[in-house]
Amino acid sequence: MIKKVRSHPTQNEPLLFERSSPGKKAYQLPALDVPEVDPAAALGGENVREEIPGFPEVSEVEVIRHFTRLSTWNYAIDLGVYPLGSCTMKYNPRINELVARLDGLAWAHPYQPETRSQGAFEVMAHLEQALEEITGMDAVTLQPAAGAQGELTGILLMRAYHEKQGNPRKKILIPDSAHGTNPATAAMVGYEVENIASNSHGMLDPEVLARAVTEDVAGIMVTNPNTLGVFERDIARAAEILHAKGALVYMDGANMNALVGIARPGDFGVDVMHLNLHKTFSTPHGGGGPGSGPVAVKKHLEPFLPAPRLKTTAEGLRLDFDRPDSIGRVRAFYGNFGVLVRALAYILAHGGNGLRNATVDAVLNANYIRRRLEPYYDLPYTAPNMHEVVFSDSKQAARGVRTGDIAKRLIDYGFHPYTVSFPLIVHGALMIEPTETEGKMEIDLLVDALISIALETENDPDVVKSAPHTTRVSRVDEVTAARRPVLRWKP
């Protein structure tokens, strides 16, 4: 039974190009009160054109209605649970927005003199300290614009460290339960990737690792908890194995929502890691805003951090560009500053105990879902899970229903799908992360919907295989879209 529905306006929405009619305008300019300049004379005739061919001419209200209608076809965390695993789609508290809109912060300009930027610098310094305390690391850079850039920064730091010792080394080890971006990062920094197979519990096996670690290995990129939502129990032992050969441990902090206030990567041997402020620290995620991927390091990597660094002086905070070992800038100005403000607001609004409670609730929610869904969906790895849980579609596959079908049917029940077919080590994965945002009522609705789909799979699999039925567009032809993409609208 469908217990929750949301509206799907079914009217067709033409493109703005199709609404255009000559002469319509969304603006009215006053008469020119300065001497007129001939653009062709000022810019050179070849740089000037009379009009932009095919540019839509529409009124203001048409533009507003067009985008407002499109927005109603969207799904957002403000509409309901967003159970994408490993994405930590949590609620963005309104207090964050209130603080980020304070005049002095919202209107700060990156070219303001340092003496006039002390408030903004203080926000950054305070956030760096908070993230150091949360991760147990010694220094933080706030520059990277998102998680993948944080990874790249982290591995560049690792490379710079090894180069300083005289040998950049050749390989990065990556467990098969790591994030998909990790191998891409290692390859971009010029390292060869060696895959490390997980054991039957979905965990890193220290013995397998010990055989793989040689003097050629620059380090390991490990996601902890890993993409199965399982805490790497032997992480400290793994770090010892790496360190004994002079290699370093990089932790992908995408799953930090399971650790904040409970365990600190700096305490279990991690040398360098990134955080996703847009995941763990509640800043907007996905289309909602830019990301932010600060990188935290231990002391031995601090000299290599991107320049400039904030420095406390007798006159206040200043930017220190004199960093001879730095890997250089990775982002213009100071990173995505507005996002940094929101993350600090989240941390301070919660306080230490509040952050710890959020972690406990996130883990509790995922385990509650696991318990309720276990009778209906196959659980390939049974190790205790943290903030997310991964099922497989093997029970449903017998009826021809795959994880992608279940996800599409979930849309009919009013929910955003979970993460489909990832992690790769689970065949037909359903990866669910509720976060601490959700209360029991919303989680029960989600679980009831998934149970109902499991029952439909038994009784009427076609209804699942042909879902979604309630959306404006049902299944799109992904294959033709990928093989013969049409990238440009033409009249």
Partner: protein, 129 residues
């Protein structure tokens, strides 16, 4: 007739190789294409590239995932299947025939001995499921 030709040798990563007069023709198996689903893009090395047994030389992309292709044997690429760039769907339709990926002049023909026979490969994919 078996789906998996007896004259081919197979890898755990689901590639096949057929050797004739020192030239190995390499492709992905029927099982691989069926697991990947609709293949939308194929990335192949250049002619003349050196490849090592067990190392990736290219990738195939389906609507589900991008997967590396690992070379069953070491050698130098003498020919690539140009037709696949315009028609990657051939990999779904005829993976053991017209949708071969590359031809390689073998530098270590004895490597073939460590690969699986058709019967062993079929046992292997059954166990994997």
């Amino acid at each position: 007739m078996s789906t998996y030709p007896d004259t081919y040798r197979y890898t755990k990563e689901h590639e096949w190789v057929a050797v004739d007069a020192g030239i190995g023709t390499i492709g992905i198996t029927h099982h691989a294409q069926s697991e990947l689903g609709d293949i939308v893009y194929v990335d192949l090395p250049k002619v003349g590239a050196k490849v090592d047994a067990g190392k990736s030389f290219g990738s195939v992309e389906s609507v589900k995932a991008v997967s590396d292709i690992y070379s069953p044997v070491s050698g130098e690429v003498t020919e690539i299947n140009e037709a696949l760039s315009a028609a990657p769907e051939k990999l779904n339709e005829d993976p053991h025939g017209s949708a071969w990926l590359v031809k390689i002049r073998l530098t270590a023909p004895e490597e073939i001995q460590s690969l699986m026979s058709s019967a062993d490969y079929q046992t292997y994919i059954k166990a994997e499921q």
